[in-house]
Symmetry: D2
Subunit: 141 residues, 4 copies
């Protein structure tokens, strides 16, 4: 059983740069689209900014760029939860073209209060869902 | 006397696309940077989103793309006020490289309430400043 | 019979701005994604930059912003061909949320040589397909 | 003596997101603008994509986000060279507001052939300049 979440991504002109490849920051947009859909799949409709006054912000990034993507490529962005803390979630994410890993790395997101920007405990339901996703993955080991 | 407002802009990789030129929507970012600095010059420190509950949104765009800009180009974005209405300001804007006009057109921005999104009369001081800028220009005709 | 082309678009954090709405230039990215898919549907796999040495650039834009889109919105971008010239294609494009038109306008794209940037006649097959799309639309009147 | 390179950056609407802060990937655009100007200062006018057939791509990122930046903020992006390899340059980069570090981390860029994307030795002059920048820094220890 795998809890890796997949999102298909098409490369458009907006994503590319004058080097003829996808601009390096834009893979991180793909990462975020995929994280957002993962959260939605875990039951959090307002997946990035909640109506209950909290939002997720990225607190740490560690990314390796292995191969470039090009205009018109059909890619897959992936995300799987690797750690759940009191106010943070760790994910392993990648962008692939078929079997080839183009970009991969670890992303830590933190739940913060929309007004103050201070860390805030993960909403209970989300935490339970994230834990479940994490356990499901552990089971495969 | 001219009230054309000028902002120097350097083209970075982020602005370009796989065609080797500046991506068409990014000139409109240059337009907005220049409008924002024009507003700041007119005395509106929070030039795009006020702390008094209003913000500017673009309501109309009419743009002609004449020549492309390239990576590392040093450009000038320009803005001059052409019309002041109850809740709107009209501007003529361009992006130039030296004497060459690359992109130019008319932009209408509208003052709206941050919460409701409804049109809202221009703040008094801003309206007076915008009118003054308009008159100064009229004087040159 | 309708030849309006539709592309579903989800609004992500990357698309929004501090006003809490989609940033005005980002609707034009939705426009371009939709144009690209329309071209692909007309049989042009390399839909934006051909391997035969030509590409499309935007030459004119005329856009009205009627209502804002928000984070997590599910939108539709649309494109229909309204004119076919020697080296240009005119399109009417919109972004809608359900029945509500948020943004709409006319976009003219020009076929140019990738090296010189000079206008270049539309590839024969693409021109025929674009004409067919235009006629199909005319038939509905 | 310090060889930290500084570039002032103003936050515009384009940089922000619906959370009311600068969107996390956009700090990486500031990083790249600063790297580009550092390269230009080292004598490489075509600082990102050379006319001699090579370009820089990012190969690794490790970034910590400490505090958010907001609309209208005046920031400083910084870059200092920390390692020079055969085909790579390591940099320490940050974005600060006054004395406060908002974002910081390590970036590795690789020199690649524009056509093949394969690693390519750093141009001789650039390597010498980068080494000099590195030594100057070492001297301060």
């Amino acid at each position: 059983m795998s809890t890796e979440f997949l999102l298909p991504v098409r490369v458009y002109i907006e994503d590319t740069d004058a080097g003829g490849i996808v601009y390096y920051v834009n893979y991180l947009k793909y990462f975020e689209r995929c994280r957002t859909e993962l959260m939605r799949a875990l039951g959090t409709e307002r997946a990035a900014i909640s109506e209950s006054g909290w939002m997720f912000v990225v607190s740490k990034l560690e990314v390796s760029y292995r191969q470039p993507a090009h205009l018109d490529d059909e890619l897959q962005a992936t995300a799987s939860i690797t750690a759940v803390g009191g106010a943070t979630i760790g994910l392993f994410q990648s962008v692939r073209r078929g079997e080839t890993v183009l970009v991969e790395g670890d992303v830590q997101i933190a739940c913060v209060d929309c007004e103050t920007g201070r860390p805030r405990r993960l909403p209970h339901l989300l935490r339970r869902q994230a834990d479940a996703s994490l356990s499901a993955k552990g089971d495969t080991a």
